[in-house]
């Protein structure tokens, strides 16, 4: 008995030691900064000596800062467009890849390219393509007689956000596609076959078999891509830096500005904490809207 107990204790210790280095790194690099940013949010750094201000940064941000709410809406627009477009594209591509049995590896390689390319490079590619004087998009659209004059895509306040969202969708679709494809492939084909025998058509098959069983993957894909879209700064920074004017300023860029241009470190920290809370709320909201079936 004692030998077994000794062994179990030794095992426990060994396991813990294996975990310890990573744990130390995590404590230093995550837990500590998180605590630090919380504490920073209660200070005001505008003058030379930071002074404690309690919750007033929070009240200033949430109650008196109109910029915050405008940029919050912009962030949500960005997420909605990016995830919406990405999901639709990802779903269609996943369904298509699921239906084709040849060249799977090659097809997946091509799809993954958009994900593997650095988002900054993707943004630069699109920035050049959307260039008003020499961009290829204008050229194609003019040749197709869809527009008659070159458009300065990134200078129009109304459509720039849509463009940003779409560029993000371009980088996010592969990941969404991979998740949905994995979900699709886990649906047993017998279900489709027996449904076909029962006389179901394609649309019914999708509604009654595919969608319910895919819900868990849908939730996963939407959640992961939403969180990424909310926190991405690469694309907006490269394409518009928040412009034209502040048409594409989002919470990420607002944080960046507060921390590194206005040097309002305490306020930036407050915004950081608020963004974390928003992320958590987003997850909670999505989990409630897209409830995966638990009984199968």
């Amino acid at each position: 008995m004692i030998m077994v107990k000794k062994r179990l204790i030794k095992d426990s210790l060994f396991g813990f030691l294996l975990v310890l280095p990573a744990l130390i790194l995590l404590l230093l690099l995550v837990v500590f900064p998180v605590g630090y940013v919380f504490s920073l949010s209660f200070f005001n750094y505008s003058s030379r000596i930071p002074f404690f201000v309690g919750f007033s940064n929070y009240t200033k941000l949430l109650l008196h800062d109109t910029h915050f709410w405008l940029y919050f809406v912009h962030s949500m627009e960005y997420v909605a467009i990016a995830v919406g477009a990405g999901f639709i594209m990802g779903l269609f591509v996943a369904l298509s890849l699921n239906a084709i049995n040849k060249l799977k590896g090659t097809l997946r390689s091509v799809t993954l390219l958009a994900w593997a390319v650095p988002p900054v490079i993707a943004s630069l590619m699109w920035k050049w393509m959307l260039n008003d004087t020499n961009g290829v998009i204008n050229d194609i659209l003019i040749k197709l007689h869809i527009i008659y004059q070159p458009i300065a895509w990134l200078a129009l306040p109304n459509t720039t956000m849509i463009i940003l969202g779409f560029v993000h969708a371009w980088t996010a679709t592969p990941l969404i596609m991979v998740i949905l494809l994995a979900g699709l492939q886990s649906i047993p084909s017998e279900l489709y076959e027996s449904a076909a025998i029962d006389g179901a058509n394609t649309l019914q098959k999708f509604k009654l078999i595919t969608y319910p069983l895919l819900k868990a993957s849908v939730l996963s894909a939407v959640m992961i891509s939403s969180i990424f879209a909310f926190r991405t700064i690469d694309i907006v920074f490269t394409l518009t830096k928040g412009g034209p004017g502040d048409a594409t300023e989002m919470l990420v860029t607002y944080l960046y500005d507060n921390a590194f241009r206005f040097m309002k470190i305490g306020y930036a920290a407050t915004l950081s904490v608020v963004m974390v809370i928003i992320s958590i709320l987003m997850i909670a909201l999505l989990v409630n809207i897209i409830r995966p079936e638990n009984n199968e």
């Binding site: 210790l13 995550v30 490079i121 969180i227």
Partner: protein
């Protein structure tokens, strides 16, 4: 003997894929030919869809007039460093979480998962301050440390799953044969975990290579700047040299292309595992 429905489905699928591949590949193709066009050709009134006089002069220019070699070396160093750190610390941690029962196993696992909720931008202020304190501003070491922070939780979490899927009997057999715990790990568990390690390492490497924000803020000079930030330098110029930027972009995309072409299987495995378990 395909039914009409199936055939229609297949044609529809092919159409969707062709459209999508155009959307994916055209920007990449465009950037590629921009990088091999001459300055004059870039600024012709209508763009040329195929370079008239392809040239490598852009590559030569960026390597001679900008510290592009340094950027490349930096990117490589940071990516390799962070990935190696994740492999070393993360694999053993995942093994420990998966195979051993100790106080706090469940809650510490959750800590790794929860730490992914914090948007990196939320933590940039504390990192900026602390990096300044310990005099690591503008250093490669700081970049390696930061990228390790970004990817270690993901790495550990996914590999716990991979280790869980390896049957314990093999390790038990090894232990009966007299292997110590460490030997069991190196001789049995680790070799079997290589697919998972490969998948997560590739994703970590790419993620680090593509990192932008932290490198932008904490590596302002060429000492530690990486290719992603280096490429965006071009747009700060008064007169953007798109052809040179194209060349820079091509270089920055090389690992992406290599990994996607040769290791797509692993990437898909890793991303899927990340979604299912995360």
């Amino acid at each position: 003997m395909m039914t009409t429905n199936k055939r229609k489905g297949k044609t529809g699928s092919i159409i969707v894929l062709v459209i999508y591949f155009l959307i994916v590949l055209f920007p990449i193709y465009w950037m590629f030919i921009t990088g091999i066009k001459t300055q004059d050709e870039i600024y012709t009134p209508t763009p040329t869809y195929f370079p008239k006089h392809p040239t490598v002069e852009n590559f030569v220019t960026i390597f001679t007039t900008r510290p592009y070699l340094k950027y490349t070396i930096n990117s490589l160093t940071i990516a390799l460093g962070a990935t190696l750190a994740c492999i070393i610390f993360g694999t053993i941690a995942a093994y420990g979480f998966s195979r051993f029962r100790f106080v706090g196993n469940k809650s510490l696992r959750f800590l790794f998962l929860a730490s992914r909720i914090f948007p990196p931008i939320s933590l940039i202020v504390p990192f900026f301050i602390v990096i300044g304190w310990i005099h690591l501003y503008d250093t490669l070491l700081a970049q390696i440390i930061i990228n390790t922070y970004m990817w270690l939780p993901f790495y550990v979490w996914i590999n716990i799953g991979f280790f869980d899927s390896i049957p314990k009997e093999l390790e038990q057999a090894a232990q009966i044969d007299g292997c110590s715990r460490l030997q069991t790990f190196f001789k049995v568990a680790f070799p079997l975990s290589l697919p998972g390690v490969a998948a997560t390492s590739i994703i970590t490497f790419l993620g680090t290579w593509n990192e932008f924000l932290y490198n932008l803020i904490l590596a302002p000079t060429a000492r530690a700047k990486n290719l992603s930030v280096g490429a965006s330098d071009f747009i700060a110029d008064m007169f953007i040299s798109w052809n040179q930027m194209g060349a820079g972009a091509i270089i920055t995309c090389i690992p992406a292309i290599i990994f996607v072409v040769f290791f797509q299987k692993y990437i898909v495995q890793g991303l899927t595992a990340g979604a299912v378990k995360g």
